[in-house]
């Protein structure tokens, strides 16, 4: 069947199972937008291309399916660089289609031309510049294959206008759909390892059975591998406590007695300290990020390391593992459980009661804590979050931006289901929350989606609420408005002698309520504790448009515990009311 490259591109996306894409048209991508009119794929028109990228990410986070963004050339392509990098850092499966100037114009500094594949090379898992219409179906299949297998990541496909424009003879092609074998043969250098080495898995099981102070260090790879069930089986079989990193919140239920919560720079005392004191860390789909390890030389000094990751380059990148296992987390954990059972299971383990009582001692001594605000003072952000947490469904999807509000949300929420926590971990992209929440809601319309945002973050991408209203995507946004770039303020207070440089934003410029209303949302402002619950309840009832609540919070509030940058996790600083934290 003869068709144009543009038609072939849309048909290829349909055959890849794409149900929705996020984008904004422009000159070079125009011919691809025409066949969208006749396609069952839902297209969501964003107000800024960065929004399209983060929506695709939010969609992928919440559904596990690849998010798709489509934008034009030049400035549109550079506007998606941030979401691409974000997706690359957090291993989010995503396919981004960019328009490009016609092939004969490439390299001439044509209008809206930029070297998209060059610019995005280091922020994508792979990218393609298609130079022949007949390559379109194959490249689209390869792009989805690469984005979703192995360590997932963003893949960009750059499409010159002439090969998709039906008015240009160069766009004519005979339709075909490549087979799995053809895709495999076309990528001779791409063979991800999924099955772990049996001897290494057995060795890992032996390490576990000898350990007296083991901790499971679960990372985002658990969620990517759909391994939450397997993780739970491993933890329950062995009785080993689990820390869930920022990217793994929800991978193991917070209410589970073995869950220690988040480790790292703003992790809770027990999660941080148990890793420091462990004699064995079972790292599953985690990457020893600097925000988790603190000073690497001082991290978990006595621990042997079992490191499971699908990306071989992660093994030994930061900390040399004693047992390295390359493979898919779910498959490896399942094999590990089998090996443990073969070796005698829980019966064969040493007595760990002393370790368990040390852990519960830390939990009792250093719980997360904050002081309630005095009458008439601004709200405590933690108080707002506790109210939100306790008055929303258990499986609410929570999306955050980056900064203090993100850390408080991760600390104070109770994540009991996988894929209910969406945030920007590796890149730390302010402005992530609103568009990512929209993407998550599009992917999971059955679930309530709350974005918890900071006032600084909100101002970066708030325009996408127009998209949400226009497309009837009823997300809810809680702005923890402390009138500051809060995390920067905290560092200036603690490490720069309270010299506050360029961090003040003002609580009422802009007027968030009016701004929300101007974008078609319901806007509310909450200033006192007794208004918190009614506002949340009102927001929960609204299901036909977005809601924004401006919570006026205390700008002096800091995130604790905290491991100051560059120091060892042993130097953890706890809430001042708990005295000295270090040990």
């Amino acid at each position: 069947m003869q068709m144009s490259g543009g038609q072939a591109l849309i048909k290829s996306l349909e055959l890849e199972g794409v149900e929705v894409m996020f984008g904004l048209p422009g000159g070079a991508i125009l011919p691809v937008y025409d066949p969208i009119i006749d396609s069952p794929i839902r297209h969501i028109l964003v107000r800024h291309e960065q929004g399209a990228g983060h929506m695709a990410e939010g969609y992928a986070h919440a559904t596990g399916r690849p998010g798709v963004a489509m934008v034009t050339s030049g400035p549109a392509a550079t506007n998606v660089v941030t979401p691409l990098c974000d997706a690359y850092m957090d291993s989010i499966p995503m396919v981004c289609i960019t328009g490009q100037v016609p092939l004969p114009s490439i390299g001439t500094d044509a209008f809206q031309e930029c070297d998209t594949t060059g610019i995005t090379q280091s922020v994508t898992k792979h990218n393609f510049l298609i130079t022949d219409a007949k390559d379109i179906p194959r490249v689209v299949r390869e792009a989805f294959h690469i984005a979703t297998t192995g360590r997932p990541g963003p893949v960009l496909v750059d499409v010159p206008k002439d090969i998709v424009d039906p008015k240009n003879p160069r766009s004519a092609m005979d339709w075909y759909w490549p087979t799995d074998e053809e895709i495999r043969d076309g990528l001779p250098g791409y063979r991800p390892t999924t099955k772990g080495h049996p001897r290494k898995i057995r060795e890992a099981a032996e390490f576990i059975l000898q350990s007296r102070r083991p901790v499971i260090y679960a990372g985002g790879g658990i969620l990517k591998a759909r391994a939450a069930e397997a993780l739970r089986e491993l933890a329950e079989l062995t009785g080993i406590h689990v820390v869930t990193t920022l990217m793994a919140r929800g991978a193991f239920p917070d209410e589970h007695p073995l869950c220690l919560g988040m480790p790292g720079m703003h992790g809770n005392y027990t999660a941080v300290t148990s890793m420091q004191e462990a004699d064995l860390l079972i790292a599953l789909g985690s990457r020893f990020d600097d925000r988790v390890t603190g000073k690497v030389g001082g991290f978990a000094p006595e621990a042997k390391i079992i490191h499971v990751d699908i990306d071989p380059a992660e093994l030994g990148k930061v900390r040399r593992p004693d047992v390295p296992i390359v493979g898919d987390c779910r498959l490896v954990i399942e094999e590990m459980v089998r090996a443990l059972r073969d070796l005698g299971g829980s019966e064969a383990q040493p007595d760990r009661n002393e370790w368990k009582s040390r852990i519960s001692g830390w939990q009792e001594k250093y719980p997360l804590t904050y002081e309630q605000s005095a009458d008439g003072d601004d709200l405590k952000p933690q108080f707002v979050l506790e109210n939100l947490r306790d008055n929303t469904p258990d499986d609410t999807i929570v999306v955050s931006g980056v900064g203090q509000h993100q850390m408080w949300t991760s600390q104070y929420w109770r994540f009991n289901h996988p894929y209910t926590w969406v945030n920007s971990g590796g890149l730390g992209t302010m402005g992530f929350a609103v568009p990512a929440a929209i993407g998550a809601k599009v992917g999971r319309p059955d679930k309530m989606v709350w974005a918890v945002d900071g006032d600084g973050c909100f101002q970066m991408t708030a325009q996408e609420l127009v998209t949400a209203t226009a497309e009837r995507i009823p997300i809810k946004v809680a702005i923890l408005n402390n009138a500051y770039l809060g995390m920067v303020r905290q560092w200036q207070e603690m490490f720069y002698d309270e010299r506050y440089s360029e961090v003040y934003l003002s609580p009422d410029l802009p007027d968030y309520k009016m701004w929300a209303e101007s974008m078609g949302c319901i806007g509310m402002r909450v200033e006192s504790p007794e208004e918190v619950l009614p506002a949340i309840e009102k927001a929960n009832e609204i299901d036909d448009r977005p809601v924004v609540i401006d919570f006026r919070t205390d700008s002096r509030e800091k995130v604790y515990p905290m491991v100051p940058a560059g120091l060892s996790n042993d130097d953890i600083v706890v809430d001042p009311t708990q005295g000295e934290g270090g040990h």
Partner: protein, 177 residues
């Protein structure tokens, strides 16, 4: 040889597609690895090219470099060549100042190194030498006393040594993700 410890040669088989060299070079700069030299050419199979990279393993462990290289979708195979168990060659072209009185000396010197004079000018000679990198270094040092006006060296190319000693060609199995 101190150099054999610091430098390792990677023979990287890549798909013969546009932009592959740029991906490899970009990876090295992004991850902060140092390239000592680099040579690229098509192989006998037109689908593939071979990039011979000499890397400075003091900047990063070789294992990390090869693992990161493998993550590039277009990288098909990486062989690590230990300089002790491989044959390496590099080509040098050098234009040397050679006024009439010095010419004979230079030609003699080049003969000793089994190089060739490939161009002759009024008071200059262009010398070609293909040899091991350290022989090139030696020749270059000696030529320098006459005054080198231009010098161009290729990156080195290498293949594993044959028979007798089992070649320590460690073919690292392709793992990509």
């Amino acid at each position: 040889m101190a150099e054999s410890v610091r430098h390792h040669t990677l023979s990287v088989l890549v798909e013969n597609k546009p932009g592959v060299l740029s991906r490899v070079a970009n990876l090295f700069s992004r991850r902060g690895y140092n390239i000592y030299s680099l040579a690229v050419a098509p192989t006998d199979d037109e689908r593939f090219s071979r990039i011979t990279i000499v890397v400075d393993v003091e900047s990063s462990p070789l294992e990390q470099i090869t693992k990161q290289l493998f993550k590039l979708i277009n990288v098909v195979k990486i062989s690590e060549l230990d300089p002790r168990d491989s044959v390496e060659r590099e080509l040098m072209l050098a234009t040397v100042q050679a006024e009439a009185g010095k010419r004979g000396e230079i030609i003699e010197l080049v003969d000793v190194f089994q190089g060739r004079i490939i161009d002759v000018g009024h008071d200059e000679l262009t010398v070609m030498l293909a040899d091991t990198p350290d022989r090139l270094d030696a020749c270059e040092d000696l030529l320098r006393t006459y005054g080198i006006t231009e010098l161009q060296r290729t990156g080195r190319v290498a293949l594993p040594k044959l028979e007798r000693m089992p070649p320590r060609l460690r073919s690292i199995k392709g793992k990509a993700s």
